[in-house]
């Protein structure tokens, strides 16, 4: 028995895409985000932006241009087949980041490069086809009036799948076994341009060629000798030309586009663990977990490269969460998907992500391979976030509520390190105790606002620093923390001089003087730098990034085990 394998490799576009997605980590990134910002104006419209402000010159109004900096300078790369998890509290900007990447929001600044091209240059239709999103709420993201089969088919219809592509070539590549080269010469009729296999854009036409007659001269006698294996909905007509010794195969679509889409939807239902019978049901007949499966089926229907999942399991029961995460993992393997997974739950990210980025107030504060991040967190925020996740295992440590309060407003983020207002590892300047610095910082805040309490120098100093022990030297300062607090003498005299300047009306000089003793966490914005003795020779692979001053000042000395 002989076999001729003939592969119609779907034309230039099909081939390239297939290669891209099977790639390993050494490939070009699928998605590159550089300096991405998304700001929303606090007030929309001209009238609502006008503020009454008696101090703004002769006309006592000003235009309020403040904005919510939801995403404020994010850089990362995502390689084909990789899963990047983005974690953070509500309001940290992770969902806005996802929406901006997918073009659902217009970025304020920054570049998004998808598969080597800027997203601005990619035709919208193509971009939509190659990226899909799965939303958190499986209930509201499915139209209750429509059958789930039709919901799954929507993206297919939107992209006009299956599409006839005239650029699909009909060149043949014939492999023969037990046959002499000239015994068979298979050609494929150009109708193959409609042949687009649902899964990978490649149709495989399998020919079985059996020798007849004289075994020394093997050749094909009739069309029945050839078995053609085609995806559902395709037909092949085979003709054998005895004199020319050629086989012509005419591959055509025997089903309507609607039939093909329906078949694809049925197939997808099965792939996501549902039954084909569910095609005609409506979303309300399904549980939350099943609805999320439908969402996944819809996202995968047009075989995207990148799937952005925004809290895909947050609304689900724990037992169902596990099922969906398993399913996402299986589908990633089968479809060669690249995931961007947004979640507030670190445990969810742990299961599926290769790398994790921790986001706080519009910025990444730590980025690391998943295992490394869960072993050791460099940024105090990442550590705090992890210690807040309840663990059912009594042998593991219980939760710790180390950070208080809520995420500060993104329209006026804190200076320096944005986490410093809630940071449990806030770096105190030399000689200051916690209480001492708090008082000092309050004075600095008042100078910035240009609103000092108290009329003369002594009164002001008394108001702000009255409780602070002035005599303590820098050596004993840290020990004396607790009652009243301490401030180093140098800072104290500077504070006094600053108040003097301020009372003279020179607020800038006052502020600058006070700022000389400011904590590094407030005065400087930490950059997202390679951290913690990790070799970063393989770029982007083992690299750990963290944006915290602690690393710089203490060479890991302050890191808790």
């Amino acid at each position: 028995m002989s076999t001729i394998d003939r592969t119609d490799d779907g034309g230039p576009s099909g081939t390239n895409r297939t290669d891209d997605r099977t790639g390993g980590s050494d490939r070009e990134p699928l998605l590159e985000v550089a300096g991405l910002q998304k700001h929303f104006p606090v007030n929309s419209g001209l009238l609502s932006s006008i503020r009454f402000d008696p101090e703004s010159g002769p006309f006592p109004f000003r235009y309020d241009q403040s904005s919510v900096k939801a995403v404020d300078g994010v850089d990362f790369e995502l390689r084909p087949g990789e899963t990047l998890g983005i974690v953070g509290e509500s309001g940290c900007g992770k969902s806005t980041l996802a929406r901006t990447i997918l073009g659902l929001e217009e970025p304020t600044a920054g570049d998004i490069t998808f598969d080597g091209r800027s997203t601005d240059e990619i035709p919208e239709g193509e971009f939509r086809k190659r990226t899909q999103m799965v939303f958190q709420d499986p209930q509201s993201s499915l139209n209750p009036r429509r059958k789930v089969g039709h919901i799954i088919e929507d993206p297919l219809e939107g992209t006009d799948w299956p599409r006839s592509d005239s650029s699909v070539g009909a060149d043949t590549e014939v492999r023969t076994e037990d046959l002499s080269e000239y015994a068979v010469n298979a050609t494929v009729d150009d109708n193959a341009d409609l042949v687009v296999d649902p899964v990978d854009g490649v149709a495989t036409v399998l020919l079985t060629v059996r020798p007849v007659g004289d075994p020394t001269e093997k050749r094909v006698e009739t069309a029945d000798d050839i078995a053609v294996d085609l995806p559902w909905g395709f037909d092949a007509t085979v003709t054998v030309d005895e004199t020319e010794r050629t086989i012509d195969i005419d591959v055509s679509v025997s089903a309507s586009k609607a039939d093909l889409r329906r078949e694809r939807a049925l197939e997808l239902l099965e792939q996501v663990g549902l039954k084909r019978e569910y095609y005609d049901r409506h979303p309300h007949e399904f549980s939350g977990g099943q609805r999320q499966r439908i969402n996944l089926a819809r996202a995968l229907s047009i075989n995207p490269d990148l799937v952005v999942a925004d809290e895909p399991v947050s609304g689900l029961d724990v037992s169902v969460q596990a099922q969906i995460l398993n399913l996402m993992d299986d589908l990633q393997e089968e479809y060669g998907l690249t995931y961007l997974l947004i979640s507030h739950d670190l445990s969810v990210v742990r299961y599926v992500a290769d790398r994790v980025a921790v986001m706080y107030l519009g910025e990444f504060v730590e980025m690391a391979p998943t295992e490394e991040l869960f072993t050791e967190q460099y940024h105090p925020y990442a550590r705090a976030l992890l210690s807040a996740v309840p663990n059912p295992d009594p042998d593991q440590p219980g939760i710790e509520s180390v950070i208080q309060g809520n995420v500060p407003s993104a329209s006026d983020p804190p200076r320096g390190c944005r986490f410093h207002t809630r940071c449990p590892s806030f770096i105190l300047p030399d000689g200051f105790s916690a209480a001492g610095y708090e008082a000092y910082d309050e004075l600095l805040g008042a100078v910035r606002e240009q609103e000092l309490e108290g009329s003369d120098l002594d009164a002001v100093v008394e108001t702000y620093l009255g409780d602070i022990d002035a005599s303590a030297s820098a050596d004993t300062a840290t020990d004396a923390a607790g009652d009243g607090g301490t401030i180093p003498p140098g800072a104290r005299s500077d504070a006094r001089q600053a108040v003097e300047r301020a009372l003279e009306g020179d607020w800038t000089a006052a502020r600058e003087r006070l700022e000389t003793h400011e904590s590094v966490c407030q005065s400087a914005t930490p950059a997202l730098d390679p951290a913690g003795g990790t070799t970063s020779d393989v770029v982007g692979k083992t690299e750990r990034l963290t944006a915290c001053h602690l690393e710089v000042t203490d060479e890991g000395g302050t890191r808790e085990p």
Partner: protein, 349 residues
């Protein structure tokens, strides 16, 4: 005597699709000062069970059978009026998952808390306000004296839930029912609320029934846990005992399917399938349709709650609880952490 004794509670909903047996023979007890976790998937009947305690079941639902004894008093005999006057708020109070919709948006937080106090106690409005500020302070609202006059929408999600807790505490109830109070919150906020529950229990010595689907949360706030499946309690034990020595296959799968930060996907073993409908639950053991150790008798016999070993506090409703068959699974999945527990289990038999 226990503070709360629920026996064979059955709460059904009479719908056009049939009788939904949401709670179908549930028994549990809560001692004074104890915190009981009620755990299970959505649809297990946890919320219906606790709403039944408060007499909050509305048409077409009805408590059809069973007894709820609170401090010796039979609650199912009380009228709506008596429940409202004597029980709700001042004896038992409830905290819901969605604080935003539980709070009235057109009244300030203070007005709502003060109203509860004035209604249920003989305090004057001025005293009520003082008490409200004190309560807001207790639940960790910053600047309570100012924030008491704010409206719910001015509070963040975590603070709304804290305000709800303050309201629940307003009349010094002896039993607090918390129905998934932290499910909608960020983990960082949740951590704060869970700590708050601990403090409250210590300070006010209240008992608690805590409904959740998250075993990690149960571990933080509960002494004992009852696992519910399709309207029934299938296993009940002190938390550590339950986690280390689960006897019911459902409890075992629940523990194995929990997504935790210290395991990888390979160690995850989700329960297959979904919970059957409560309109026509499977005969015999209700978990048998998804159970890995199911055998013939499971479809005929309804397993009672057996005492497990010498532990009188550990009960389970599985016919095969002492077979040892089902124990291979957890041993596989917890080989690193629970080795000793598994060995112990086998010597028990």
């Amino acid at each position: 005597m226990s503070l709360l004794e629920v026996e064979d509670l059955q709460t059904y909903f009479f719908t056009s699709d049939g009788i939904v047996r949401a709670v179908d023979g549930v028994s549990f007890e809560v001692e004074t000062g104890e915190s009981l976790g009620l755990v299970g998937e959505s649809g297990a009947g946890k919320s219906v069970a606790v709403k039944s305690l408060m007499g909050l079941i509305r048409e077409p639902g009805r408590i059809v059978n069973g007894s709820i004894k609170y401090d010796g008093q039979e609650l199912t005999d009380l009228s709506e009026q008596e429940l409202r006057r004597d029980i709700r708020g001042n004896e038992i109070s409830i905290i819901f998952q969605d604080a935003m919709s539980a709070l009235n948006p057109v009244f300030t937080v203070g007005e709502q808390i003060e109203e509860v106090i004035v209604e249920n106690t003989d305090r004057s409005p001025t005293e009520a306000r003082e008490r409200a500020i004190e309560l807001l302070d207790d639940v960790g609202i910053p600047d309570p004296a100012q924030r008491i006059d704010e409206y719910p929408h001015q509070y963040s999600g975590g603070m709304q839930q804290r305000a709800m807790i303050a309201m629940a505490l307003a009349c010094d109830p002896r039993l607090i029912i918390a129905d998934e109070p932290t499910t909608a919150l960020d983990v960082t906020i949740q951590a704060g609320i869970l700590e708050l529950f601990d403090e409250i229990q210590e300070k006010y010595e209240t008992s608690m029934v805590y409904v959740t689907h998250d075993l990690g949360v149960v571990r933080e706030v509960c002494d004992r846990v009852a696992v519910m499946y399709l309207g029934r309690v299938v296993e009940s034990a002190p938390y550590e005992e339950l986690y280390r020595n689960p006897k019911h296959p459902y409890t075992q799968s629940l523990i194995n399917s929990v997504v935790t930060p210290d395991e990888t996907l390979d160690e995850l073993d989700p329960i297959g399938g979904t919970m059957p409908s409560a309109v026509s639950p499977p005969s015999g053991c209700r978990f048998r349709t998804r159970c890995s150790v199911e055998f013939g008798e499971c479809s005929q016999l309804t397993p009672p709650l057996y005492d497990v070993g010498d532990e009188e506090t550990h009960t389970t409703a599985c016919l095969r609880y002492d077979d040892g068959v089902e124990r291979e699974e957890p041993a596989l999945h917890e080989s690193t952490t629970s080795e000793p527990a598994v060995v112990e289990e086998q010597t028990d038999d």
